[in-house]
């Protein structure tokens, strides 16, 4: 199948190096300490953060740092075919773990000993790149909750189809069977916290694809930064002196 037309357009009309439209919104869950909705094209994810709070299970309490937990779920209505998925299937357990590890790397857990931070992410609409969208939503929600972090983690995916590197794959491109690289970086520190790839790529092509993903992550970071700054300014001036 042809994923990049001779004119250089993808199935949804984007250029190979073009991202889908992104949108982030803060403060969507009333009772949570921090919450956000993040959209990448048709992928839409909601994240809620609770904590730092008292550890629920005393045996998991750590005396030198905070416990970070993450739960990833997909709403039944998020995909085209409505399927009742059992809770805790392999895919969601794996993604929960991935998100947890990525976020734990950026949270300054040593500042909040003997506490627990819960991150709940739910996919409302799935159209490829849910992992990236979840990480971006979680970052927004954590900053909204006022949890100290080393840097904002942002994530973006890239792939390689029809011998072209593509940025931000959608569902059709994702399921095409080509390589799919999901990358999470800390843009300020210039460090990689997450790198996943299925299928294989020659090393020189991989470097190109990864470079593309890094560019994507940085674009997301710029946007997230804008959203957060606007939010902080609003909160401050509304509060007044």
């Amino acid at each position: 199948m042809e994923y990049v037309s001779p004119e250089g357009l993808r199935l949804d009309g984007r250029r190979p190096m073009e991202m889908r439209q992104i949108r982030g919104e803060i403060g969507v869950v009333d009772k949570a300490d921090g919450s956000a909705v993040f959209e990448m094209g048709n992928t839409k994810v909601i994240a809620a953060v609770y904590g730092p709070r008292e550890v629920q299970n005393r045996s998991q309490q750590m005396n030198d740092r905070a416990l970070v937990r993450c739960e990833y779920t997909m709403a039944n209505f998020s995909t085209g075919d409505r399927m009742r998925k059992p809770k805790g299937d392999r895919r969601s357990t794996e993604i929960s773990l991935v998100i947890r590890q990525t976020m734990e790397a950026c949270i300054m857990t040593h500042l909040m000993p003997r506490t627990q931070i819960d991150i709940f992410v739910q996919v409302l609409q799935a159209d490829g790149g849910t992992r990236s969208a979840c990480i971006n939503a979680a970052t927004l929600a954590l900053s909204d909750a006022g949890i100290p972090m080393r840097d904002l983690v942002t994530s973006c995916s890239a792939g390689y189809l029809n011998s072209t590197p593509l940025l931000d794959l959608n569902y059709v491109e994702d399921s095409a069977g080509g390589a799919d690289v999901t990358l999470g970086i800390m843009p300020k520190l210039d460090k990689v916290t997450l790198l996943q790839m299925d299928a294989k790529l020659p090393l020189d092509i991989f470097e190109n694809v990864m470079q593309l993903a890094i560019e994507g992550c940085k674009a997301v970071a710029t946007y997230i930064r804008e959203v957060l700054l606007e939010n902080t300014k609003q909160l401050e001036y509304r509060r007044g002196t």
Binding site: D33, R53, M108, S143, A145, G146, T232, L235, R239
Partner: protein, 324 residues
């Protein structure tokens, strides 16, 4: 910013926009460009010496914010005051909390802090007002003072090895009943001299807890401890009175007028908190007066129209104080 979960029509949207813009223009004169987000570098002058405070860290010789907030500078100290974070206790803060567990010699209290607070049996006055050692019998009767899910008011005593300790050594502290507990973000409540307010014309008590828990309830007469101690001969009669009066109060129920006042005040606070305005007793009272002066029903105070009115009123109020 949280978009208001209200359905505004076109004119209301425009009016709200205008009011908020006015607020922005008033605020921006005071301090601009002080807002930072996570991983923004903070410009500092190294020659004057530097102390890094909360919400900052050093990366490659650069001071970097670790939370979203406003940069504050006090002499050498540079720190980021975070908004919308959990409550950070300070000694002497007056807080409202909810008892979640009765443990040996102590109650555990949820106060919107990252840990549960502890109220020791020994750090609160007994209902009979006598100063003495707490016996095993007192410990067994702890549930007669506070039970699980009771809302209480106390003061932050300090940090001990096992966490944050509270104290309630005055009659004004203790169990709260016949009213509403509201939770607002803790950055909206400023620390002030007075956190207990008796609104005489409405017959209600208002407690603005520093932790963002606000109590609105029917007014209860406080029998001052110290006074009781001084008048030792009157002590017996007074003690008798106070032992009867709770039961009496249980019987006579809150008049409807008071209950309406409680709801009106509570809704005024809710409206202010959804708009993100700082919550002080003056602003609350102005909002309540505004609602009763234009005859808004209590349930309509949570609607779009009133919200817009409050925003406009706040804009006017702040520009007035600015002029002074």
């Amino acid at each position: 910013m949280k978009d208001l979960q209200l359905s505004l029509n076109q004119t209301q949207k425009v009016r709200l926009q205008r009011a908020l813009e006015k607020l922005e223009s008033l605020a921006s004169k005071a301090n601009s460009n002080a807002s930072v987000t996570v991983a923004d570098s903070i410009p500092v002058n190294y020659e004057d010496g530097l102390l890094k405070g909360h919400g900052t860290s050093e990366v490659n010789g650069e001071v970097v914010a670790t939370v979203c907030g406003v940069v504050e500078r006090v002499n050498k100290l540079v720190y980021v005051r975070s908004l919308r974070a959990r409550y950070k206790p300070e000694v002497g803060d007056i807080i409202v909390g909810r008892v979640i567990e009765v443990a040996p010699k102590r109650w555990r209290v949820e106060i919107n802090y990252s840990h549960d607070a502890v109220l020791m049996l020994s750090s609160m006055n007994l209902p009979d007002g006598i100063q003495r050692r707490r016996t095993a019998l007192d410990e067994l009767n702890m549930r007669s003072i506070f039970e699980e899910n009771d809302v209480i008011c106390a003061e932050v005593r300090g940090f001990q090895h096992d966490g944050l300790h509270l104290q309630a050594r005055s009659q004004k502290y203790g169990k709260l009943g016949r009213g509403q507990l509201l939770t607002v973000p803790s950055y909206l409540v400023k620390r002030r001299k007075q956190h207990f307010h008796h609104l005489e014309n409405y017959g209600i008590d208002l407690i603005l807890g520093c932790n963002g828990f606000i109590w609105v309830g029917e007014h209860v007469e406080v029998t001052d401890d110290m006074l009781v101690d001084h008048k030792s001969e009157q002590h017996d009669t007074k003690a008798d009175k106070s032992s009867i009066s709770p039961e009496d109060q249980e019987k006579n129920y809150t008049p409807q007028q008071t209950r309406e006042n409680i709801c009106r005040t509570a809704n005024a606070i809710r409206a202010l908190s959804t708009l993100g305005f700082s919550i002080t007793v003056e602003v609350i009272m102005e909002t309540v007066d505004l609602s009763s002066s234009i005859n808004v029903a209590i349930h309509e105070m949570l609607g779009a129209e009133f919200c817009v009115l409050v925003a406009e009123k706040e804009a006017v109020r702040r520009s007035m104080t600015k002029k002074k």
